[in-house]
Amino acid sequence: MELTKEEEDALDGKQGETLALAYRTLVAIGEASNADKLIPIEWAHLSGVNYNTIGDAGKEFLSSISKDARFKVKTTVNPMGFDFDSVSQYKLDDKFIENQRSIKDSYEKMGAIPSYSCIPYEIFDIPKQGTHVSFAESNAAIYANSFSGLKTNKEGAFSALASALTGKSPYSDLRDDDVRKPNLTIRMKVEPRDELTYGMLGYFAGKVAGSSVAISGVSNLDRRSCKSLCAGMGTSGACGMFTFGEEEGEKIDFDKNEMQKIHDELNTSEKGDLITLGSPQLGIEEISDLTLMLKGRSFQKRCMIFCPSAIKGQIRDLGYANEIERAGGELLFDCCTCLSPLVDNKEVDSVVTNSVKGAYYLKTSNKVDVNLKSLKRIVEEETK
C-alpha cells in the first residue's frame, strides 16, 4: 500500500499509540484485501457495542483506548444489550449492566453519537450520492450501498473503529465501481410476497453471491421488505450490496423449493413463548403500520418490540406508543433482538419472529427454537 507522509508518521506512532493502532489496523486490513491506498470517509457506524458480542476483552480494550482517543468523523453506534430506562423491569444480572455501562461510556467518551441503532440509514440525514462511509453493521452496510447511494465495504468491528479514529478506510472491494457491478443475477420467482419472503431471498442471495449481486423480478418494495432483504443477506454471507434488474453473467432462480429449504433451516418450532419484532430495529413507518394492524386487538403473549431511541419522542407524541402498549406490546429502545440477554433460554423455549436475521441469532446465540412467520400472520395468530 502507498501511504502519504502523514499516514506513515501516524503509523510510526508520531501521533500517539492509539492512532498508530488505528493505522496498523487499516493497513493490515488493506494489505489483506489488496488495497493500494487509504481514502477519506465521512461517517463511521460501529458494531461491537453489545457486551454479549465483545465480552470482557472488548470492554477492556475500549476502556483503554478511550483514555486518549477521539473520533475524527461522525460516528454512530449499534444497539446495546438492553434499554437502560427499562432494565430494572428485566431479570438481568448487575455484572452485565455494569459491563454494558462501561462500553457505552467508552464509546461516548471517544465522541460517538449515542444512537444505539442498527438502522442509521433511517434516522440520520444521508450524505450526498457516492459518499464513502464505513458501516460495520451488515444490514446497514447493504442498505447504504443498495438504497442510500453511499459506498462502504461490509466493514468489521475493527476496520470501522479504525475508520472512526482516522477518518479513512482502505480503498478495496466495494469502494471500487468495477467490483460494485454484479456478475450474478438472482431471479425472484416466489409468490405471494411479504417481508419474510424477502428476508429469505436475502438469506439465499448472501449464501450464493460474491461482493455484489443483482436481483430481478422485484419492484416497489416497502420499507419493511427492504430492511428484511438487507438483513437476511447480511446474515448468511459476505455479499455487501445488490442492484435491481437483470445483469449479464450467471443467473439463478429463487423459487419455492429454495425458499422451503431456508424456511426449514431457520424455522424450528410451530409455536413460540414470546414474540420479538425488530431485527433490524423498527423505524417510524413500521411502528405506524404496526399500530394500524393492532387496532382493537391485543397480544396473547409477551411481545418485545425493538426501536431506536431517536424515534421515542415521535411515537409517543403521535400516540403510537400508547396504542402498542395498550395492545400489550413492550417497547424497548437502544437494543435489538440479536444477541439480546433479555431472551433467556432458561425462561423461554421458543420465540416467534418475522426476522430472518433474528431467527438466525436466536438459534445460534440464545439457543432457543424459532417460529418464523410474517408480521401479518403474527398479528392474525398471536393477537385477539
Binding site: 496498523r24 489496523t25 493490515a28 477492556e60 468491528a157 476496520s159
Partner: protein, 127 residues
C-alpha cells in the same frame, strides 16, 4: 524467504508450526496462551513467546480480542506467519502490535518447529 507484510515489526525466536487453522475465540486460552482445542494438532502447547505459524484463522471476528488479551497477559506470540491473512488475525495482530506476515505454500512447508528464525516484517524477509 520473502514474505508479504500485513503488520510491521521485527521478531526473533523459535518457531511453532500448526497444521490446522486456529480459532482464537474457542481454541486458545487467553490467560496462558495454551492451545486448549482437543482436536487441534498443537493441543496442550503454548503459542506464547514463539513465532507462530498457522494456515489461517477461523471463527468469530471477536477472536481478535483474544490476541489482545494474550498480549496483555504476556503470553502472545512474538510474531505470526500465515498462508492467508484472514480479517480476524489481521485485526487482532494490528490492535495488539504483533508482526504478521503471509508466505506462500512452498515456503510454509519449509517452516519447522523449534527452528530459530529472524523475522523482519518491515523489509519483508524471514532469515
Amino acid at each position: 524467504m520473502n514474505v508479504k507484510v500485513i503488520v510491521r515489526g521485527k521478531a526473533q525466536g523459535s518457531l511453532l508450526v500448526a497444521k490446522n487453522p486456529i480459532n482464537f475465540l474457542g481454541g486458545i486460552d487467553k490467560k496462558t496462551g495454551l492451545v486448549h482445542d482437543k482436536k487441534h494438532d498443537l493441543f496442550g502447547k503454548s503459542i506464547g513467546n514463539k513465532i507462530f505459524a498457522f494456515p489461517f484463522g477461523v471463527g468469530s471476528s471477536v477472536g481478535a480480542y483474544t490476541l489482545y488479551s494474550l498480549k496483555y497477559n504476556n503470553c502472545a506470540p512474538l510474531a505470526i506467519i500465515c498462508l492467508k491473512a484472514d480479517l480476524t488475525t489481521a485485526s487482532g495482530c494490528a490492535i495488539s502490535n504483533i508482526p504478521l506476515v503471509v508466505v506462500d505454500k512452498n515456503d510454509y512447508d519449509l517452516l519447522h518447529e523449534n527452528n530459530q528464525v529472524t523475522l523482519d516484517a518491515i523489509e519483508g524477509k524471514i532469515l
